[in-house]
Point group: C2
Chain length 393, copies 2
């Protein structure tokens, strides 16, 4: 694959990055509103925006809106394809990859099954997927800004290292440097749920809400938390581990080795295992478990209800601690949300505290693109971030 | 009580407030370091600091330190008594009040028993305590900036309303306006644990840590969380409700009406009730329960161990969700922390996840001043806060 020069805007200061971010997340938006939203002066907004317009990242609205009373407002928007990132979500048995523009448009996508999940096998597959998507871009490949890869587990984003991913069985894999060498592009490695939360912050509920939690149901139970202006990352790289809160039955053994974790009854594996055990048939799949539960099979219904109970307690716990404005329920598991819902809601309502219960609960229809989009957005965000502590103007 | 003019610095912008805050929390500190810490330009720092020096809020170090290599550094510090606040903690049976300077010096303190906790009785007692402390200040009363009052429960800080305090049995009490009318001073009303966290952010672990949780053990079990640059307040006013996470025995009935709350076994009332029940003696006090546990009485030992178990699970839960750098254990209950400690640590270690376990655990020796100091710091902070969305320069 040929060497690319990564496309990035020149943003010297944190204030400039904040202004550009507002145009990305809230455009079309007037200079006046940017000033109001960021608390920065009009002079600073104008000074930041001019080179972004000149370099083709930002465009001025053609159809002037008229403020009443006042001068015509020419709102600012991003040029959607002025920056493009590839996002890759790594699972144990397959990878998803998408190309996403700064305008949150999905340009291309691909899904590749893995024959195994050793690091070398996975890296080769990622390189193939990314290369295919880049080729598809044609001339637009010059707008590529980087690649984001999202993996479940404990990730050192600063150094691009997968410290510990129980799902993949990886420890201390320097995925970022291995991939950027092969791809000739900047690569950012991020925890999958945090990446999803960052994508939600830019293009989802985060555009309207001052705080939110996104809970993912599936092979694992994860949680991304956005509060006080940023996604919570954890001082030691771990945060949002809602799947390992001790809210499950105290005797249930989790894959992590602990007892009583939410995932011990609520992960898709735990649900399948419970149904296999109920039917004394180790060959049943998750699809079988879902089918049986829809047919009213008692052991399958019970397995989903135990999962819903644990997830409901976990969401109430998150809400009681953080008091988010919105909670988004997402992940593969929401495709069968009806199987969890009754017990989920009962348990949530039984334990949520005071006015924290006023948070909005949203169930997000899952598509296989979502996880990979999160990784792409992590790469786009990284490309416009400025190290803290620099000068402000 | 005579009318005071509240002493406040002129800080037009959020950036100016941030610069002043850095001097308060990190002084003595050089202009260069303030620029580095805040990301603001030297010009902005100098422009902000000059009027603060002229008005007597900030002082320039007399003993110049020599940077190597470079010019002598004359670090900036706050003038400790340039702002003084009174802080009041309201309990069901007594109030504590302290006078605290901007230099975090406790100038005076008082403790007053209450004959009841109806709002009118409590307000009269607060007015008496505050008046006594203000009189004690003599000439320094001209530096008074306001009064902070901290109450457990759901507090609307913006409007100074105690929305719901189960401990006091208050709902919708406009405490702020009732008190400021009587005192002739600005009054800020804050949730007690949030106030403690804000005080910890300014003058405690927050000066060195990027994130922390402060867990209080006592009549209630509370939690203040500091992450992404601020204390978490909750979109609907509720956050940090660690006492009402469903981590206690599922049949234990809590004073809040729910089942399975941490407080249902871990509050000082729950512990006393369990020991009363164990001895079939409703007259036993918390002091009796503590004495019996120290003597090895099985029902008393068991009551504290059940409390320690629930608190350990709750702290692990908090740590797994947001991965703080430091956890401070505080509150009246730490005076007998040895009775909780073994089961607390076992349960914490059994459930804390991955590198989140690397957080530092600090047990803070409790003094009766702490809670009231938190309320005073809330008042000091309020006096230098600037509404967001204003111009930045």
């Amino acid at each position: 694959m040929s060497e690319h020069t990564a496309r990035r805007p020149v943003l010297g200061t944190a204030a400039s990055a904040e202004i550009f971010t507002r145009i990305i997340t809230h455009g079309p938006v007037s200079r006046l509103d940017i000033g109001r939203l960021t608390g920065l002066s009009q002079a600073k907004v104008t000074k930041t925006v001019s080179p972004l317009i000149a370099d083709g990242f930002v465009t001025v609205g053609e159809h002037a809106e008229h403020a009443f009373p006042g001068r015509p407002v020419r709102p600012l928007s991003v040029v959607p394809r002025s920056m493009i990132a590839v996002g890759v979500k790594v699972n144990a048995d397959e990878i998803f990859a998408v190309t996403v523009s700064l305008g949150n448009e999905v340009i291309g996508s691909t899904r590749r099954r893995l024959t195994g999940h050793a690091p070398e096998t996975t890296i080769t597959a990622i390189v193939k997927s990314v290369t295919a998507l880049v080729d598809q871009l044609g001339d637009d490949a010059r707008f590529l800004t980087g690649v984001g890869v999202s993996v479940s587990g404990d990730i050192d984003t600063a150094d691009g290292i997968v410290r510990d991913s129980p799902l993949l069985g990886w420890t201390h894999v320097p995925l970022g440097s291995l991939l950027s060498e092969r791809l000739g592009l900047p690569v950012i490695v991020e925890n999958d749920v945090r990446a999803l939360a960052k994508s939600e912050q830019w293009f989802g509920v985060g555009t309207d809400a001052d705080s939110f939690a996104i809970i993912t149901i599936g092979a694992g139970i994860g949680c991304g938390i956005y509060v006080n202006g940023d996604v919570v990352v954890g001082a030691h790289g771990v945060a949002g581990e809602i799947g390992h809160l001790p809210l499950g039955p105290s005797d249930a053994l989790c894959v992590c080795g602990r007892r009583g974790c939410v995932e011990a009854v609520a992960s898709s594996h735990a649900i399948r295992d419970a149904v296999c055990q109920g039917h004394d048939d180790p060959t049943l799949t998750l699809a079988d478990a879902i089918r049986l539960a829809h047919e009213g099979d008692p052991s399958a219904v019970d397995a989903f209800e135990r999962a819903g109970t644990a997830i409901g307690a976990a969401v109430a716990t998150t809400v009681n601690l953080f008091g988010p404005e919105v909670v988004v329920i997402a992940g593969e598991g929401v495709m069968d949300y009806d199987l969890y819902e009754r017990r989920f809601r009962e348990e949530f309502l039984a334990h949520v505290f005071g006015t924290a219960a006023n948070c909005r609960l949203i169930v997000r229809r899952h598509t296989f693109v979502d996880w990979a989009r999160g990784a792409a957005v992590a790469a786009l965000r990284e490309a416009i971030s400025v190290a803290p502590g620099g000068p402000s103007d």
